[in-house]
């Protein structure tokens, strides 16, 4: 085991882990954060998406040793059920979930987009969200929620 210093959602953490442990397992088990989900462990579904240094990253593939000094952000860092962040608020307003297992990953991928491009077009959102899978078929609502968070009038329809 090696000790790693991680900055997650603005707080510093000291974590003992085997170096090859994917960031996902450290977030879920050592830091007890539920947001990032195990979906495939293969980088194919996006359920584990978090921000590392502001970029959307598949945390099931990134070894904890590779995070370095970059700041990690998970869905817990955007807000709480009582004080949801703008994307969380938009997903609630659009009721953009069924089982919801993919949603934290969806929100983090959308967060990366909106940070870079505050008013994306519909086509840009679809392209950007393509790595993330939803099996319940909640896609239309997810797209509306992202547009709503971006302040697009279409999202509020």
């Amino acid at each position: 085991m090696t000790t790693y210093q991680l900055s997650v959602n603005g707080r510093g953490h000291s974590v003992d882990a085997d170096p090859d442990t994917p960031l996902l397992y450290v977030l879920r088990n050592d830091l007890q954060l539920n947001g990032a989900k195990f979906g495939c462990g293969l980088g194919q579904c996006g359920a584990c998406t978090v921000l590392v240094g502001g970029e959307a990253v598949l945390s099931c593939l990134m070894p904890v040793a590779a995070v370095g000094a970059r700041k990690v952000r998970t869905v817990e860092g955007l807000g709480t059920a009582d004080a949801p962040g703008r994307l969380q608020q938009a997903f609630i307003a659009e009721q953009a979930a069924q089982c919801g297992y993919c949603i934290a990953g969806m929100i983090m991928r959308a967060e990366a987009l909106l940070a870079r491009k505050p008013s994306p077009t519909d086509a840009e959102i679809r392209r950007h969200m393509a790595p993330n899978l939803c099996r319940c078929g909640t896609h239309m609502r997810i797209l509306r929620a992202v547009k709503r968070a971006a302040g697009s009038p279409e999202g509020k329809a």
């Binding site: 085997d18 090859d20 442990t21 994917p22 397992y25 879920r28 088990n29 007890q32 954060l33 539920n34 947001g35 989900k37 195990f38 979906g39 495939c40 462990g41 293969l42 194919q44 579904c45 359920a47 998970t74 869905v75 817990e76 955007l78 807000g79 709480t80 059920a81 949801p84 969380q88 997903f91 609630i92 009721q95 979930a97 069924q98 089982c99 919801g100 297992y101 993919c102 949603i103 934290a104 929100i107 959102i125 679809r126 392209r127 969200m129 393509a130 993330n132 899978l133 939803c134 099996r135 319940c136 078929g137 909640t138 896609h139 239309m140 609502r141 797209l143």
Partner: protein, 740 residues
Amino acid sequence: MSAAPSSPARRRILAAGSLTLAFSMVPAWGQGGKGGKAKLPGSLDKAPMLDAWIRIDAGGRVTVYTGKAELGQGIKTALLQVAAEELQLAPARLSLVTADTALTPDEGYTAGSHSMQDSGTALRHACAQARDVLAEMTAQRFGVPAASLALREGVFAAPDGRRANYGELLAGKQLHLRASPASAPRLPAAHTVAGKSLARVDIPAKVTGGRAYVQDLRLPGMVHGRVVRPPSPGARLLSLDVQAVARLPGVLKVVRDGRFLAVIADGEYRAVKAAAALAQAARWQMPAEFPGGAGNAALVAAQPTAQPETILERGALPAGPMLRASYTRPFQLHGSIGPSCAVAQLVQGRYTVWTHSQGVFPLRAALAELLGTDKEQIRCIHTEGSGCYGHNAADDVAADAALLARALPGRPVRVQWMREDEHGWEPFGPPMRAEVQGALGPDGRIAAWQYAVWSAPHNARPGKAGNLLAATHLEKPFAPPPAKPIPQPEGGGDRNAIPYYVLPNARVVHHFQPQAILRTSAVRSLGAYCNVFAIESFMDELAASGRIDPVAFRLRHLDDPRAIEVVRTAAARFGWDAWRRPDPRHGRRGRGFAFARYKNLAAYCALALEVEVALDTGWVRIVRAVAAVDCGEVVNPDGVRNQIEGGIIQSASWTLLEKVRFDDSQVLTRDWGAYPILRFGQVPDRIEVHLLDRPGQPFLGTGEAAQGPAAGAIANAVFDACGLRLRDLPLDRASVRGRA
């Protein structure tokens, strides 16, 4: 509330203990309830005591109970609305306990779009009866007629201003009363909570990283298990060297029982690595047992078939030429995004299992047989998982966790399947083949209809240990019990095999196949998906043969006014009659229509949609879809829309992309690369769902209404776009490219 003496009701109250009341019940209560023999509404019939459904503590806190489980379909919210409406309490003031063998009624499985019919109906009547008993108690206390009481937020007010709330009326006692066959739910016109789009109660936690899933359970001392499955169903274990694995960091136990191999470690990723090492340490022999690479039809033909059963025989089939076509479906996955997961713990001979099973009570029975213990020694607690869409690996992973808990008593053991486990070992949706023949009469109506469907079982749910994957791999294995067809009117492989159309001369035959080459069970909508795909495709083929508009053709064969209304609504809102083919320079566009009434007795769904076919790539995309749905009385309109939108998209994914592939010994589609599902780039521009609400009519369920119609409408739209009639699912790029 007018009064009529009803001594059975009064006896019931007296039986409740010290709640001695001299009152009379509403007249409806006295009807047909002799000795409780009349059928009670919904699941009340199975669990007739009111306090099985509703309990009120001395502080007035109300808890309602359901044997159904949240699967992501929003059932918790809808059930809370039903209870809140009858009790006249804000939904936020109610607690809801879902499927738990220690706490809730046994409502079997959460499946078949039955939850609102079964549990919604039970809760509506239980809460209405509880409310009326409490009203009578208040009336007696104040010496006023019950009808003079006003009820608001759980507080009764007499005309003179005296008040009594639920908590003080019961003072900690419960309504341990047998439900009555009749009760007086609030009239739909007066509804303030039911029928409105209440925001889902579970969504805030899900979007903020709250503890929402069984995957998120972290119990003190919890350890992590992983199972190493054989490489193929028939694989034989030749040798295994466990020593190297047992020495890996963090490994607490290596379990070997026959072909059931597993590791338990102190950390999750350590368990993952140890499982990989254990897989490397095993030598297997794989027999060639499957018709590798067989197409859908050949695959179905290779499976044994039981005696055919004629499920419809009407009129006489006239002689003469018939149009003929056959349609097929491959093995398909539930494909949950989160692989199945469970936590189990054995403490002093008693097991607790946290599971996302659709049926905690049947699972408990199967586990008891597997573990050789009494079912009273096992508690199964439903804890939400990733959406399952039917009988996926939820029960199997619960068995894995229970076996590992037995191997390491005292410690909670969490087992989560890996992606390749879920893709390779969940029970698949069975392959099917439908053969249709039909002929039009001179009047442009269907003069003859002949239909035969072949399908492997759609139900291998537990109840028996042999239905649990691990149990079949043990040194002393449990054999899967023989599969039985699900009888009509619901049906399994023959679900929706009987068209909902008026057909004077028709014959429908079900060929049940007791055993598929791979394990199969219920995937959302069961056989309805393929049967509606086949029937609705063939309806268009017949309509085209007579040059008749597909919507007009369907209307010509419908006599149920509710069916007619959904068909007309979907067509009108889509703009069917005014539709013109857009300029083909932007891709080939076509429109398609389909209709079904799920199980021929549940929700009505009609769907019109427009697709775009890219002939060079073979890529098909729904551009827009318009659905009209009648699911009886609507409790949560937005919840119904969410289910229908999701059903259309999920079915589009099945229909355009999905097929389990295998060679002569093993499943090859072990990840999302080999078994792709719909991504954002292929989802429609727009989906509209129009609800035809029927206040006061029975709940009909919605979770499975759209899947069949979506498949039929897509196939019809592809044909309309490019003249290619595709009859073998999936209608994937390879089937379209270069053929149209």
